[in-house]
């Protein structure tokens, strides 16, 4: 027993050292940095208590306005994307699970392949498809008489472009999780429904959806966290524009923190902590309302 326990700690040691250094320590240090003036080159320029937070909640301070604008951009993306991505993933999974589908393996593979791509790759592909003058999508729109659309430079098109690109890129992941969930629903339930003469809509509402409760809950939380990580698509495709309308928090924090001349690391950390806090509050609310039934 004694020998066993020493080996246990030894086996955990390599992982725990990295885990401690890059997960636990930064969690504490991030909060500390948010209470300092901190420069990219200068390092810690002094403890200033809650000053950064005060500034971020002061509506007259320019960074505060921009930060909350970015928070609004992130929220917009969350509202547009989370339900859409969940229902599209579910739709694809149901399609693949359909007994009439003969091309199951190919479909599943093709729907999932974009997940294997890197952000700059999907960004350049879609920027080219959405390009104003000679992009393919504007060609098709001109062909059917609608005309060119300024996809990346005007609202609401800029958001639509980012959401469509992200949908194509990531929906396969949701589909795979839903497929796993669908396969966990006992087939006897469907057989019983058939015997009772239920149509496919009723079967979906009364058997499929309740059976997927845990999975939907899990994907919702995952999608909310992912919305806050929105970065590369606006950075590369719209540059945060038009204006600052597609500048999400992650991109704004990146821009302010890695400012070469001004010591904004501290206030950027405060923005990170506020964002992280908001994510945790949303997750907690979900757990308290839906989670009790889900788990």
């Amino acid at each position: 027993m004694r020998k066993n326990s020493i080996w246990g700690y030894l086996f955990l040691l390599p992982f725990l050292s990295f885990f401690g250094l890059f997960v636990i320590f930064p969690l504490i240090r991030g909060v500390y940095m948010s209470m300092t003036k901190w420069g990219l080159y200068g390092g810690n320029l002094g403890f200033i208590g809650l000053k950064n937070y005060q500034l971020l909640f002061d509506p007259n301070f320019f960074m505060s306005r921009q930060f909350w604008e970015s928070m609004w951009a992130t929220t917009q993306f969350m509202i547009f994307s989370v339900p859409l991505f969940i229902f599209s993933g579910l739709g694809l999974a149901i399609l693949i699970n359909n007994q009439f589908l003969k091309i199951k393996t190919v479909s599943r593979m093709i729907f999932f392949v974009p997940v294997a791509l890197s952000a700059p790759v999907i960004a350049v592909i879609w920027m080219w498809l959405l390009e104003y003058n000679s992009g393919l999508i504007n060609f098709l729109l001109t062909f059917i008489g609608i005309g060119r659309i300024p996809w990346l430079t005007q609202q609401p098109w800029a958001w639509i472009s980012i959401v469509i690109t992200t949908l194509w890129w990531t929906v396969g992941w949701n589909m795979i999780i839903f497929l796993g969930g669908l396969q966990n629903i006992p087939t006897e339930l469907y057989d019983a429904a058939k015997v009772d003469g239920a149509n496919s809509w009723n079967t979906f509402i009364h058997i499929t959806l309740p059976g997927l409760r845990n999975v939907i809950f899990f994907i919702t939380i995952f999608q909310i966290i992912a919305s806050f990580n929105l970065f590369a698509q606006p950075q590369l495709m719209t540059g945060g524009g038009p204006g600052r309308s597609t500048l999400p928090v992650m991109l704004y924090i990146y821009q302010t923190a890695f400012n070469f001349s001004l010591p904004y690391m501290g206030i950027s950390s405060a923005m990170s902590v506020i964002s992280g806090g908001i994510i945790l509050i949303i997750i907690m609310i979900l757990f308290l309302t839906l989670g009790k039934e889900a788990y």
Binding site: S5, F19, L21, V113, F143
Partner: protein, 275 residues
């Protein structure tokens, strides 16, 4: 009745074909345009099936940018992260799944809880740490923080718990130590999970854009995604060249994914549904 089935059969498969077309088309467009001369790419109406292919776009990006160096950087850090983190995670997961020691469940709960720590809180202090050790702009800046990922420990622990204990008991009676139990019994049994984790880590590092963008600042150290983003403005009008670069990043991960997709998908479902 038979008619209804035929209609369902046709609509389902037709819908799937349309969706397959929509999902595959952007990738087809990238590949085909990467082999087309620039004047044909921007033709109006667009050319869907070219009659003339060229390697010029590839030559242009290979000669005009350090993309080969970026390719090698990406291969190196991705293989390093995948290998090292699999090794580290095997030991940690075995300890959490099978060994008895004080605080084990507590440690597991902390690791599990860490899955919900938003990354947005961690990246600034982690940058400061990496900078403090002088790792910015080195491979270590990419490799070491990636080893702290908790997902692998979680995945392997779940898998190890499912392995029958009797296999180990027999080896223990024969006097085998923990190391030989891990490598001779656990690793061969958990092979699918280990491959899954290796591939997930490889692809995660290969595709990662945000973190390398922060910690790498000299052109020769870039990984492919960062390099690709950096040359975007330079080649803004050269779509063929950009598509050639994009395809060079995409090809390895697509190939790896297609080869191991069965395991990969199982791994996601396993952790997703149970998690």
């Amino acid at each position: 009745m038979v008619n209804k089935k035929i209609i369902k059969f046709i609509t389902t498969n037709f819908l799937a074909l349309i969706l397959i077309f929509l999902f595959a088309f952007p990738i087809y467009w990238m590949i085909i345009d990467s082999f087309m001369p620039n004047d044909l790419i921007i033709k109006w109406p667009p050319i869907f099936i070219p009659n003339k292919l060229t390697l010029n776009n590839y030559l242009q990006i290979i000669n005009g940018t350090p993309i080969i160096r970026w390719f090698l950087n990406s291969i190196f850090v991705s293989v390093a992260v995948a290998t090292l983190s699999v090794l580290i995670d095997i030991f940690a997961a075995y300890a959490l799944a099978r060994m008895n020691f004080k605080g084990r469940d507590m440690i597991f709960k902390i690791i599990l809880g860490a899955l919900s720590i938003p990354g947005i809180i961690l990246f600034l202090p982690n940058y400061v740490t990496v900078n403090f050790f002088g790792w910015t702009n080195t491979y270590l800046a990419i490799i070491l923080p990636a080893l702290a990922g908790t997902f692998g420990v979680f995945l392997l622990r779940q898998f190890f718990i499912g392995i029958p204990r009797e296999l180990e008991e027999a080896a223990k009676i024969d006097g085998a130590g923990f190391f030989s139990i891990v490598f001779k019994i656990i690793v061969p049994e958990a092979w699918p999970a280990i491959i899954t984790l290796f591939v997930m880590n490889f692809m995660g590092t290969w595709n990662d854009y945000f973190w390398p963008l922060i910690v790498l600042n000299s052109k020769s150290m870039y990984t492919l995604p960062v390099g690709m983003a950096a040359i975007q403005s330079q080649y803004i009008q050269w779509y063929g060249t950009m598509m050639a670069g994009a395809f060079m990043i995409a090809l390895p991960s697509i190939v790896v994914f297609i080869i191991v997709q069965r395991y990969y998908i199982k791994g996601i479902v396993f952790t997703g549904v149970k998690g």
